[in-house]
């Protein structure tokens, strides 16, 4: 393996991390409030609102039921509008976010639903407002499960970012396809796959360790 290939792989790692983290962060900026809204407006939420819940629920389900590769293609005009081009790692972040946000919203909703109703009741009895309950009770009590959800989502987006490589998205997936599939350089493809596995493992391990460490429930 020559220096050029190594350099290319390093760049690939950088792009992959950029796409993954970028889409996770922007995904959470959109998905977290959406998930909170789903929880709050849900049947057993702080302020049930059937109409709002059904609208959000519908949008989430629609987007989540579209396979990612199709979403990627469907969104090309939108991506071009937003980023100016439809290929490269920055452009890939757009469909990744669109795919991730509803998923994140669901994960957040489910984490919040798991918070003990008794604790919420106690907070209400102390005179807490809904906003205080969300920020001081729900998000804090659910932090372990939120972090687990974050880890799983990051892993998922790592995989999707690699998938988007097949249509010129950049990153390790792109390298694997270009060299492994089009040029039959199996060695490079194997290295990129191993790199993807290693990155995935690191994300999982760090995320799970952190969520365990921050959990004060059992000891």
């Amino acid at each position: 393996m020559n220096e050029k290939v190594i350099w290319m792989l390093v760049e690939g790692i950088g792009e992959t991390l950029y796409m993954t983290l970028g889409s996770v962060i922007i995904g959470y900026v959109i998905g977290l409030p959406l998930g909170i809204l789903l929880y709050v407006s849900g049947k057993n939420g702080l302020r049930p609102c059937g109409l709002l819940y059904r609208i959000l629920d519908f949008i989430c389900n629609i987007i989540r039921s579209i396979p990612f590769l199709i979403l990627l293609i469907l969104l090309i005009p939108f991506t071009r509008l937003l980023v100016g081009q439809s290929y490269g790692s920055t452009a890939t972040i757009v469909p990744l976010v669109v795919c991730a946000a509803p998923y994140i919203a669901r994960v957040v909703e489910s984490s919040l639903t798991d918070v003990d109703a008794g604790v919420i009741e106690a907070a209400k009895a102390m005179g807490a407002s809904n906003l205080q309950i969300v920020f001081k009770v729900l998000l804090v009590e659910a932090k372990t499960s939120l972090l687990t959800g974050f880890t799983i989502t990051t892993g998922l987006l790592l995989g999707y970012s690699a998938m988007s490589g097949t249509v010129g998205g950049g990153g390790l997936g792109d390298i694997a396809v270009r060299y492994g599939y089009y040029r039959w350089q199996t060695g490079i493809m194997i290295v990129t796959v191993i790199l993807l596995i290693v990155i995935f493992q690191i994300i999982q391990t760090v995320g799970m360790k952190l969520s365990k460490k921050l959990d004060h429930r059992k000891r």
Binding site: D116, M126, Q132
Partner: protein, 337 residues
């Protein structure tokens, strides 16, 4: 002075098309400084009643007055402020699992906008009051049930409430821990003058610390009054059933096949006289003592006995008449299946 007044409270729950009447036209007055018990069987509507006092449950009909204020007339914001003046503790403690003990107590202060430093100082004072200051840095998962309830009490008291609501606060605890928590609640009532409302299904909790009691059965208020009065002379079936304990304690009694059973309660003065011996000597009729117990009710020793009477109706009438003559309370005990 009146702390809480409940007027014609009705609460219905609508689930899947049908209506459950959890409370039916309940009216109650709770005096300031009282320890007021609300007792009833499971599903009677006790929790619904206590949750109505801080409007966690909005009445379908009727009014709740706390310190003279009709809660139904308050805006959300005013209601929240009012709630911070009504402390509440629960069967499952409901502590924040991800916060340590000190921060749990600070929580109620945080909510009403107290500064962090001040909140911490106040929280430490309260942890001292409930005698758990050595656990300030521990997390709830590291505490026993009794300790958790102490923290919950400290948290409920942090905002200087005038009323403390306890929903089955001792039901998850063993008898010894229950006694110590009840002792603490009593102390708080006496020291701080806080009105306490205790919801329970255990008569022993009521007789141990309550001054007054209301009995709820099937959503209705069936009896209310001073604990002593109701203990001596229960008028409603629900009160009798609660006083006579659960069905299990009655099972071995059945084998005795007594014709009729009565419950007698000795007041303090008669507790020292050999009433039963006198009775048997005088009438020459044997009676069976099926259960005997003494209790401390409102600081007075009270004796309770369940007697099995002979089959003969005439003899039964004689015994009951003689007993009533001596001034003790006699209640017929119906067969509890």
């Amino acid at each position: 002075m009146i702390a809480v007044e409940i007027k014609h409270l009705t609460k219905n729950f609508d689930i899947e098309g049908h209506t459950i009447a959890a409370l039916k036209d309940v009216s109650l007055t709770i005096e300031k400084g009282d320890i007021f018990g609300v007792i009833g069987m499971s599903g009677a509507g006790k929790s619904t009643l206590v949750r109505s006092i801080n409007f966690l449950e909005k009445p379908t009909d009727g009014n709740i007055y706390v310190e003279g204020v009709d809660l139904g007339t308050l805006s959300e914001r005013e209601l929240r402020r009012m709630r911070s003046k009504i402390g509440m503790i629960f069967q499952n403690f409901n502590l924040l699992e991800q916060r340590n003990v000190l921060d749990n107590v600070c929580f109620s202060l945080e909510i009403n906008g107290t500064k962090r430093r001040e909140a911490k100082k106040r929280a430490l004072e309260l942890l001292k009051l409930v005698k758990i200051e050595d656990k300030a840095k521990a997390y709830p998962s590291q505490l026993s049930g009794g300790q958790k309830q102490r923290v919950a009490i400290a948290r409920a008291l942090a905002t200087d409430p005038q009323i403390l609501l306890c929903d089955e606060a001792t039901s998850a605890l063993d008898p010894q821990t229950t006694a110590s928590i009840l002792e603490l609640i009593k102390e708080i009532n006496e020291k701080l003058g806080i009105t306490v409302v205790i919801i329970t299904h255990q008569m022993s909790v009521v007789t141990d610390i309550c001054k007054k009691v209301a009995i709820i059965d099937n959503g209705k208020l069936v009896e209310t009054g001073r604990v002593e009065e109701i203990f001596n002379d229960p008028k409603s079936d629900a009160a009798r059933e609660l006083l006579l304990g659960n069905k299990i304690s009655f099972q071995p009694l059945k084998k005795l096949e007594e014709g009729r059973r009565i419950r007698i309660v000795f007041r303090e003065n008669s507790a020292y006289e050999p009433i039963l011996s006198n009775l048997i000597l005088k009438l020459q009729i044997p009676v069976n003592i099926l259960k005997a117990d003494t209790k401390n009710i409102g600081g007075k020793a009270v004796g309770e006995m369940i007697l099995g009477l002979p089959e003969d109706g005439g003899q039964q009438a004689d015994i009951i008449r003689e007993l009533k003559k001596t001034g003790i309370y006699v209640t017929e005990v119906s067969e509890i299946e």
